[in-house]
Symmetry: D2
Subunit: 375 residues, 4 copies
Amino acid sequence: MSEIGIGLIGTGFMGKCHAMAWNAVLPTFGDVPKPVLNILCDLDAENAKAKAAQFGFQRWTTHWREVIDDPKVQVVSITSPNAEHREMALAALAAGKHVWCEKPMALTLDDAEAMANAAMLAPGKTLLGYNYAQNPAIGHARQLIEAGEIGRILHMRGVVDEDYMADGDIPWSWRCRAASAGLGVLGDIMCHLVSIAVTLAGPIAEVCADIDIAYRQRPVSGGKPGEMGAVENEDIAQALVRFEAGFTGVLSSSRVAWGRKNHLMWEVHGSGGHLACDQERMNELQFFKAEGLEETRGFRTILTGPLHAPYDRFCPAPGHGLGFNDLKVIEAAHFLRVIQGAEAPLVDFARGLHIERVIHGIARSARKRTWCRIA
Amino acid sequence: MSEIGIGLIGTGFMGKCHAMAWNAVLPTFGDVPKPVLNILCDLDAENAKAKAAQFGFQRWTTHWREVIDDPKVQVVSITSPNAEHREMALAALAAGKHVWCEKPMALTLDDAEAMANAAMLAPGKTLLGYNYAQNPAIGHARQLIEAGEIGRILHMRGVVDEDYMADGDIPWSWRCRAASAGLGVLGDIMCHLVSIAVTLAGPIAEVCADIDIAYRQRPVSGGKPGEMGAVENEDIAQALVRFEAGFTGVLSSSRVAWGRKNHLMWEVHGSGGHLACDQERMNELQFFKAEGLEETRGFRTILTGPLHAPYDRFCPAPGHGLGFNDLKVIEAAHFLRVIQGAEAPLVDFARGLHIERVIHGIARSARKRTWCRIA
Amino acid sequence: MSEIGIGLIGTGFMGKCHAMAWNAVLPTFGDVPKPVLNILCDLDAENAKAKAAQFGFQRWTTHWREVIDDPKVQVVSITSPNAEHREMALAALAAGKHVWCEKPMALTLDDAEAMANAAMLAPGKTLLGYNYAQNPAIGHARQLIEAGEIGRILHMRGVVDEDYMADGDIPWSWRCRAASAGLGVLGDIMCHLVSIAVTLAGPIAEVCADIDIAYRQRPVSGGKPGEMGAVENEDIAQALVRFEAGFTGVLSSSRVAWGRKNHLMWEVHGSGGHLACDQERMNELQFFKAEGLEETRGFRTILTGPLHAPYDRFCPAPGHGLGFNDLKVIEAAHFLRVIQGAEAPLVDFARGLHIERVIHGIARSARKRTWCRIA
Amino acid sequence: MSEIGIGLIGTGFMGKCHAMAWNAVLPTFGDVPKPVLNILCDLDAENAKAKAAQFGFQRWTTHWREVIDDPKVQVVSITSPNAEHREMALAALAAGKHVWCEKPMALTLDDAEAMANAAMLAPGKTLLGYNYAQNPAIGHARQLIEAGEIGRILHMRGVVDEDYMADGDIPWSWRCRAASAGLGVLGDIMCHLVSIAVTLAGPIAEVCADIDIAYRQRPVSGGKPGEMGAVENEDIAQALVRFEAGFTGVLSSSRVAWGRKNHLMWEVHGSGGHLACDQERMNELQFFKAEGLEETRGFRTILTGPLHAPYDRFCPAPGHGLGFNDLKVIEAAHFLRVIQGAEAPLVDFARGLHIERVIHGIARSARKRTWCRIA
């Protein structure tokens, strides 16, 4: 396989991110098939046309089914609103395509289950856009854990905070409604944290959670003076966690945490060491190892570099820094290798379903105010 | 009142800490009564004698009741093992003394209640050794919160991790037994975090918690080869929290977190800003304020200085740094002013009882695996 | 102009970096001409062919003059060894091409002068690869300075340390010889620091410097046992600096600083504030402003975001982080706009000559052990 | 020797600091002689009396010679203005006293030489108040260097910045006049940095320096409207340095660096590692060791603790943090041991003279604009 046909649905934040990744993956990696950018879909024709030119797509459409129907398209990137993931993914899988779908997987747990079931039966491969889990710093952490460098895992903690809804004057929007957005902060960013927790510490067995809506009403944009809309999903969520392996954890998230921009922070406590990382300083891994003279021990700041694959594909010099978009390029390369059968997917629809069960489990636990098992 | 008689029970970690504070408080503050170091108690006569000379006490004893019976003693510092706090505090209060007692308040909730009741009826003042809450950085945070600088509180988080039990080969000791130590990490360090949570965010109404013992057995020191003792109290604890004011929080703690030495970290999220602090960098307060041009906003690192009282008593130059022992000196000065009627106590036995209810509530919630109200 | 023809000489660290930038610039920015990747040059035919396929060039060659002779090529990216910059740049300029040349500008000051003179007379535009100066954090710093946010500049400091030669066992190579590499750390990385100093604080009038060779001999790779080669250029350099505007500065650099990977750190002290940045945390700008209540002042960590152009072209969410390669994409977009006449070049050959005069002035000052004026 | 008589001249910033140290040293250390606080001197009788009571001195005076004449006084703490150090120290030494003198040593190099000569001939021991050099973090760094943990020293850098004169509206005072203050920032804080450079990297052989006055005039406090006084000494100073051992260094300092409160930062680059520290985070030592797997290397943050003597005298728990005043207590204990003959002085008048030669050499070099040898 030397070329692979690409169709992309969506041109927003994540749509552009996929487009940039598809452009960069071959120049960066070299040993992957050449992505041929066949078709781009956006509901707005003007925009679709302009973005196709910008991103280098051969043609464009305003009908997403055209992407799936294109016989030259082998991989479909789905970056449309969450509520549309299910229908698009099912159609693409039914058409024999490989599917790279943005997170959260779907609006409801039912949707996610349907998608995972379809993926199990379809010939196409699937991948979910959990780009932070692709960070070489996290890959290195995972290797250290697997190599026993921190001993037995005793505990896992994580936080993911942003402030995109911290201002109470931000207007009421689709994000605030259960029908359009589904979950709130759980679907927006907590799912990223869960993807990392699961990657580093394995599946989650039980949760006990609490959620809160910090701003119960928001002004309706363009509404009458003083008109307010009710916020239907959570701004803040936190969960006690029991991992299947038996140890405990705590996961917290807020979308109203002033000053935090991408504060996706985690730490894994082991019987022989400790690992920690913050996505706001995504090129640094904190590592404490309980060995050697006690008086010279300390958390060391490992700057990622060429020895932390695939950083070397981006730069031969250590500590020069990857960026947010580079993680998507790594993800694209990973998916191409998954399609080639050379790698196991980090988060396919099956594993993604587990993440959905965790975030919906958190919501359910908070509602019922009790511990809930994750199926 | 120009002089005040001091009796000190205990000469260990905290005993020495009190002794150093009693020596330093007048030279440092100037405007407090002169502590006259009357009598020091330690069970070991050799040690009592040596430490009395070192700390500047006029006389020593091996019988703690002698401290309380001494008519010249007006303040009793209690730094003995937790199991003895109740009896000593009750005796001291009954004798009309002021009582400065180390944390945790007592072994059991019953003990703590008895102490709080006694304090309510006695003429003497009480203070618990929650020294971290005396940090000028925290005092400043409290003022900023009270002045509305971060708006309405939306959420509160905290962690307190150390690694004094992180090595699985640390022998089984009194710390591991419920009968001698009572709670584990909850009584050792989580109570400090609760003291700060309560200071900054007010009383806690409900908790839902989980605990874990990371090392279920530890080697018996001096025992037969391979002899192990069962660890009876928790190494790790975490709790979902509802504050009385209505917002949520999360508190976590571990005594087996390799590399953490005094990682007492908290953050208060507000509708207009954000405050955070880590005791390992105790002279730095992180403050984000949602005002001014967005492109120049950021967390600012406020180095404590003379404008953050009572830092000025220690040093006229900002950013020069207070240390752990300085917090005890601040606490001593505070207690002297409480005794003079010039200040309200930060954490007296009444407020301390609330902290005990929270940590015992966490233990109960973890046992019952359900939300528990804090009386 | 909707398309622009690109020729690239070199496929190493920087050659690939240019190639990735030419691929990314249109998808990322949108409003720039489409780079048509005409021809790639590498001395090794196998490599040239493979890299042309990887990077998306239409054809390849092993003769660099073919790149310049190609009438479709409008921009020549020069990423060959420093000793070849002069000849290539002169030929390209003579052929009417625009030239994007990697730093350092040339091997000798004579070469640099010849290049600057040629650029002055030629119709083509020029740009030097001072990518760090393109960091939005630095652009923001520059705006703050120009807007008077830190008042009058009082002082400027900078460090650039790496450890790529810190190991004394790294073999003797072309880097160690004056004939092939010219300057040592001054040409490798100090020139980057000078580019930023000049960008933020204006031209430099005088220097007084010292240099040192930490490892005077290095093992000859593949040589006889124990065979050593003499290191002819500096490992370490530092300079006192007087800026034309009258204030002082200090610039230091080492290529033997263990643990430093890209520690390009600078600070500008003003009469009303202070700015600082470290490339190892390239998405953070430190800003202290002497205004407001003294007790809430502190250095604030500004995470770059969409308000710091052109970060917005990469990501709509703040604090998500740019990477090293993104700076080259910004540089490519900048050069396209320079070519369009829409922007003034940040560091063209004229300004680049000043940088060369500074680093060669540092070398001369260190040799003569006296202050030297920068012409 | 179980007791030792103390006389203290001065009750300002440093006077109080000495007083607190004399009160704390026995309770903290235990194994030092008991300081008997005989007599305190301040020019203002009211203040002398009040401070004697506060600090625990038996009597007070307004005549410093009374301190020296008191036969019970064995140690004289000199914390008076710099211009008086020489006369007082000479008198104290002539009277057979031990002298603990604050830095800078004296107003002029002549004064410092006279003091060093007197100390050489007198029976009394001497110590200068270079308290930062007493930081256990620095002691640990020194041990690591001496043990070869970072290999051969290749380079040394340091900065010491504060902002106590950063505001141009701070009035003209004795600090601004050569006659009263002598040097500016060199005497105020650069001497601290030199004390650490010398402690860690040995004596300095040559300097080449530059200085600047950022605010050439300052408003006269209480003067006529608009009346300004000329600032006669430097706000900013920086020096290229050659250590006697052959390697290079750079030292910089500013008293007009907004936002810096005690930014005394140094780093020592070695052939096998790297050490760095910042006094604003005085309990953290940064250590990079070039050993072990490259992918897990990084600067480690060593939190000082009981293994870094004499931290253990203050606290048995690591990472709990010493403060600025604790360094003075360490210094007091050190001086008592020097007096007992148990330790060699870290910075006595002989070594202090070298520091004075360096800072005056910097001033001279800046005036002459040439390299200057340090005698």
